[in-house]
Symmetry: C2
């Protein structure tokens, strides 16, 4: 709990406004009582650790006031005992607590952050009697900047939570590798991994990607059967009960044996990741980490004969983005794309904006690295039909790809290798290093 | 697909208005791109079988017009190939299809049903330029009645879908019974069952209840360890990809062996269910099915000495509702509480309203049974502290409970037995009869 107090005091230093943070409300699936599992707003969780709907906190000078309505006595029949408001206030070390109706008395000069659900945002605007939306009004923007200053780097309690999320994710991924030998479908492997997460009473930080069609970057469905020559791309992360995320990707052969072509590309992607991680230290631009990965992938594909011409030209053209079209990684914390609810305010430093260029336009983080940032490093190689067609039809690009050689790599649809990395004082620590990723190590699991 | 055409024609017979039905939009979890799994509105699914967000259909005279915006080409990078509007229109056997912007030209005189998400409802109201909310305006009420007329009974295609949902649910429950012998926590058993559902590429129709604290009727969390004397109450239902639900509850001993007291109460609950099901046939009031279950439970507790005095007085007082406080069941279909998005319009026939009386106030269905209705039959026994305290303090009730005898049944916190039942021409068919429920059969699973 002292961690939460320290965060409240940290906010008070950075933000001169009193702050109202809403947990948010439950959302329904097909009828009102049939709700999705509730997940409080990350900003709210950051200061409370409390995943409770219809709850609001008021933060000022490091103090917290809780607003929450106790459930009616009749609710006990359906939901059992619930805490009293006083008990919740004690748990949060709140200075005071009131029913939600009192909230209107605490709105003067208050800053807030828009919730993700539009209905919730309307409620916030109604209570504050002003717009609560993007672009943010001045006081909300000031609060956003203060929150970003705090949350860009992870304190010890946050690092502990992230490590727990990673530990459970590793167990799930290991279970997935093991069950693949006996599974006939993507869905079976996915369900098997997700039950490991659920059995730990952790949630999923995001919709898992478990697919033999790795070239579809956000393939959220798993409808395919597993065939011996397939690679299975698994991007799955657990979330702790307190809301902290892991985000790990591995790609392994369904048969337990990489083909020669799969192994060659895999080694290129792994080299890109290794060199990207090796370059991480405080002060280095994340942009540079991305550039290194793109360079290693380009060099690797040149070495395999997939790219042809002069390496210097290939790098200048950035043709590697045809095969590695997304960013090298992103912030990781309470959100799997941390603070993406603030748009690019967190990911992009002041005065920085997304580049329109292929490959770069999807880079989610463009800041100098700082000690105690946690980022993902996730290079990939994909044969995406739309991008290959674009390159083929583009006289400036198509000539640099050896289409005959590329045909030999048809069994490599998509490979991604993703780890969660803590920026340390002098370099980087791979928090998810406990999970195998070398080709030989992956193959040895099948022996 | 002919099933969907038949439903569209059925609606045209019952409803003179043209009809607009929205699938609904995705809802986000902690940031916009991190969404919950999408689930289209049940009314939309009933006529299309299509689980696709941001889609609208216009139904008139049995014809269907599809409104949907094709995804931008850039979406292929993230989400792969998506169908064209023409392909979707073919799949739905639509008479025409347009972008969503054309919707405004089809609003004259159109009836609709409010979606569950308030933001979606606002969008509907904006397009139709009138309120879309409860209580319904006249044309929407007419549509609701027409939909209820159709959906109150299940056609052959619906019964087939419900049977598939039941089949997968039975496999999940069987897996749960088996894993209980080796599981240490509620969460493990729950995760194990849910992975069976997910491996079939089915969803969960509702938040599972997997608990040793069965006295909490809607205990959505599973935080407890399993102890040898516990009963585990498992209320879990799968949903087909087309959206059709199952809803089955079993209660089994963690140790594989009912205690004498657990067995005695279980037999009372099972007798209540057996007699309730035996009374089902077209024309019988569902109210009467509830009354029979309440009577059998009251007689059973009287026989065990938990209730005392004259049986006639006990029945008149309805003291059985202290131990069986919820309704005997509800409609089952595309929603686990079918059409509960319409409030009580579907569950309660014209001119009928909820009774304020204990036990009856939670009855979700109050209509005469009809052939091809599917209902749940789910009697239970619970020791709910709040209700027992109320009874103890009530001079009219407390004297009828033998508190000393009740103490001996302390290891029976909650038992529920729930099956899914089809009303047939002459009686009832228990669709979920393939899942064991006799005490001896449950115990034999552990041998």
């Amino acid at each position: 709990m002292n961690d939460f107090l320290a965060r409240r005091r940290g906010l008070a230093k950075n933000c001169s406004h009193p702050v109202l943070l809403w947990a948010g409300s439950r959302v329904s699936r097909n009828f009102a009582a049939n709700t999705y599992p509730f997940r409080a707003s990350s900003h709210f969780l950051y200061f409370t650790g409390l995943n409770l709907a219809e709850t609001v906190i008021y933060l000022e000078a490091g103090n917290l006031i809780l607003f929450w309505d106790e459930l009616p006595e009749s609710a006990a029949l359906w939901h059992g005992d619930s805490p009293t408001r006083d008990q919740l206030a004690d748990q949060l070390q709140a200075q005071a607590s009131y029913p939600l109706a009192k909230l209107a008395q605490f709105t003067a000069n208050a800053a807030t952050i828009p919730l993700v659900n539009p209905h919730d945002r309307q409620h916030q605007a109604q209570i504050l009697n002003r717009p609560v939306e993007f672009p943010l009004v001045a006081e909300d923007l000031a609060l956003a900047q203060a929150l970003i200053d705090l949350r860009l780097t992870q304190d010890a309690a946050a690092r502990s939570e992230i490590s727990q999320a990673i530990a459970v994710t590793i167990r799930a991924q290991q279970a997935g590798m093991k069950i693949t030998q006996n599974a006939k479908t993507e869905a079976k492997v996915r369900a098997w991994m997700e039950q490991v997460v659920a059995a730990h009473q952790f949630n999923l930080a995001y919709t898992s990607i478990v697919t033999t069609q790795g070239q579809v970057l956000h393939q959220e469905h798993s409808p395919h059967t597993l065939k011996p020559g397939d690679l299975l791309l698994v991007d799955l992360g657990a979330e702790t009960p307190g809301g902290w995320a892991a985000d790990i990707t591995r790609t392994w052969p369904v048969s337990g044996k990489f083909s020669a072509t799969q192994r060659e590309i895999y080694e290129v992607v792994l080299a890109a990741q290794t060199q990207a991680i090796a370059a991480i230290k405080p002060g280095v631009e994340f942009w540079e980490i991305h550039r290194i990965a793109l360079q290693v992938i380009t060099e690797g594909l040149f070495g395999l004969g997939i790219l042809q011409g002069s390496l210097r030209d290939l790098l200048a053209l950035e043709i590697g983005t045809t095969f590695f079209p997304h960013g090298i990684g992103h912030l990781l914390g309470l959100d799997v794309h941390d603070m993406e609810d603030l748009g690019d305010l967190a990911g992009y430093g002041p005065g920085r904006n997304r580049s329109p260029k292929p490959g770069w336009r999807y880079l989610r983080l463009h800041r100098p690295l700082q000690e105690h940032m946690v980022v993902t490093i996730e290079p990939g190689f994909y044969q995406i039909p739309q991008l290959l067609n674009q390159a083929r039809l583009d006289p400036n690009l198509g000539q640099w790809i050896n289409w005959v050689v590329l045909t030999k790599f048809a069994d490599v649809k998509g490979i991604r290798i993703e780890d969660d990395v803590l920026v340390t004082a002098n370099g980087a620590e791979v928090l998810s290093q406990g999970l195998v990723k070398k080709t030989d190590d992956l193959e040895s699991l099948w022996l």
